[in-house]
């Protein structure tokens, strides 16, 4: 057998085998590629706002009404008058407060001195902490109240001032363009949905003794984890 034959006998398979293997691998890859359905929906979660278990249809309806009436959803202004708040809620005092009970871990109660709308240092810290805990929530409710001391009209103005104090601090501290779209203010004065003493056990800005009067000299602040 001459040398050329020997070369051919050894060389041809040495080239042919990898050649066939490579063409086979690439052919298989192309077949799979052509068979793949790229129009199918990807099974990947999409980033979204949060929707917590406490978002009952009733609460969502309230949030939607309040958010709309307070100018957060496609309207022009911000802030709801107490009467308006009552109307949009269409609930009794107890029913209104009951809706917010599931927010115990999420909400903070910012307390004020009597006849004052100024945030004290602990109030400032509480507002900032509450705001920073937004996570996936869409709306930040500030529900301000006043104790029943004094005239109803004065208390209405007082609660409105407290709500605006919270908003003003948020705007000044965070300079967040979303504030106008996310913060809803309600001032209830003394004539709607007063808090009971059981709310003294919630996260408050002050640690001192708490009575029903003191807990109502406050702004209830909470992110609402409901997708509206």
């Amino acid at each position: 057998m001459n040398d050329i034959m020997r070369r051919a006998i050894v060389g041809v398979p040495a080239l042919l085998v990898p050649l066939l293997m490579v063409s086979s691998w690439l052919g298989a890859a192309e077949s799979r590629l052509n068979a793949a359905d790229y129009t199918a929906e990807e099974e990947v979660a999409i980033a979204s706002v949060s929707e917590d278990a406490y978002c009952t249809p009733k609460l969502k309806a309230i949030v939607r009404r309040v958010a709309t009436a307070c100018g957060l959803v496609g309207a022009s202004g911000r802030g709801c008058q107490p009467a308006v708040a009552k109307n949009v809620a269409q609930l009794t005092d107890d029913e209104f407060n009951a809706l917010f009970r599931p927010l115990e871990k999420r909400a903070h109660i910012v307390q004020f001195d009597a006849d004052s709308v100024d945030l004290d240092p602990s109030g400032v810290r509480t507002v900032e902490t509450a705001w920073a805990a937004q996570q996936g929530a869409s709306f930040f409710f500030v529900v301000a109240r006043a104790s029943p001391d004094g005239k109803t009209e004065h208390n209405e103005k007082l609660s409105a001032g407290r709500a605006r104090s919270v908003l003003g601090h948020l705007e000044q501290k965070f300079r967040d363009p979303d504030i106008a779209k996310q913060v809803g203010l309600l001032w209830l004065g003394e004539d709607f949905a007063q808090l009971g003493e059981e709310f003294c056990g919630w996260q408050r800005s002050r640690t001192e003794e708490c009575t029903e009067k003191e807990i109502n000299r406050s702004a209830f602040v909470a992110w609402i984890d409901c997708a509206i």
């Binding site: 050894v10 192309e30 052509n34 967040d176 979303d178």
Partner: protein, 442 residues
Amino acid sequence: MARKWEELAEDDGYSLGDADGFPDAADVEADVDYEPPINTGFGQKPVRIPLVLVLLAALGGAMFAATSTADFAAHLDRQVHSVTCSVMPGGEAGMENGCKVVMMSPYSSWFRTDYWGGIPISLFALAVFCFLAYRAAHLAWKGGEATRAETGFLLAATVLPVVMSVGYGYISYSEVGALCTVCAGIYVVSGLTFVGALAAFVMSSSPPMGDPDGARRFGVGVLEGVGFVVVLTMVWLVFIPQTEANERGVSGCGTLVQPEDPAGIMLDIGRNPGKAASIELLDPLCPACKAFDGRLHESGLDKTLDLRAVLFPLDAECNWMLTESLHPGACAVSEAMLCANGQSDVRAILQWAFENQAALLEAAKDGDGPVRSQIKAAFPAVGGCLGTPVARNRVVKSLRWAVANALPVMTPQLFVKGNRLCDEDTDLGLEYTLTRMVGGAK
């Protein structure tokens, strides 16, 4: 010089009857007592032993290279596959990640901007080892007829895989930072082919100066070797999938609906003014983000992008979209980066997080306190901001940017001129697709 070889040959017991080193029949007949030298002599069986070693090592190399090439080819279907990381049964445990990193690195193939995935370096290795196997088998078969010029050529041919092994071993260690065991197998058998070829060359005693056909045979050998490489490369180029899917990838997988940054949460991580405006959604403690960042840098594609980042930590501490943390500690690192926004520290913190990723993830298993301490120690300038409501709020704003754009909950994601780079184009097809997305398509 010729005289010297003649003298040496005569010392070995035979004379140079002709130029190819074989004693003439007449010489043998004239000297009935002639006995070929033992173990050293050209034309003796012992030279087959190192040639068989070269053959076996080359076959082993071909097997390793074929394994790697098959894995590479499998990924050209743009789907996810496992990577063979050991040719020993059951030897895969804990190895695949390194093999995958090496395979996905820009060093694993050439011509990536011209072909989706490019031409794998293992294909060239397969061609070279098949060629070496062919040469070694041929010489072993020839046995006593093999010339020293041929064993010399074999030796020279084995230098190529040795040089490539040294080069790629260095790149694997210094640039990629991962070890591929199949590649290591190739490095070892490359050495064995060289040792075997060297032994065959030494054991064959035909003087190279005395072979008038030596140069021609060397040239033929080179042509054959080049032929093996060219033929296999041509087969690759003919059969490489060139489908619509690859072209569809160039137009991206989705667009940004709200690319604006009203909250000022985008971070400069690779600004190149005038280049393609790009946004990367990333998690500083995400291994895939680290690998992607490395591929962008190693391929040089980062220079073609004006790159900003939006942080999307996959850490349930701040990310409400997760029920459990995939990358604990990522919220803390994200806060630090957002605290440093506008300063050169942003890239430095990201680099630090990438370099210490495994340790940071481990430290944050039971809470991110230790990670926060490490950040403060490494970057004192952000210490005062870390953990404040403002810092936490900025992380929320980053996450909500992804919500506003309805992005998949995953990292990394790259948007070039508003178009999302498809997930399947983030590794092997990165150069091919990204080059075209930024406008430099060939």
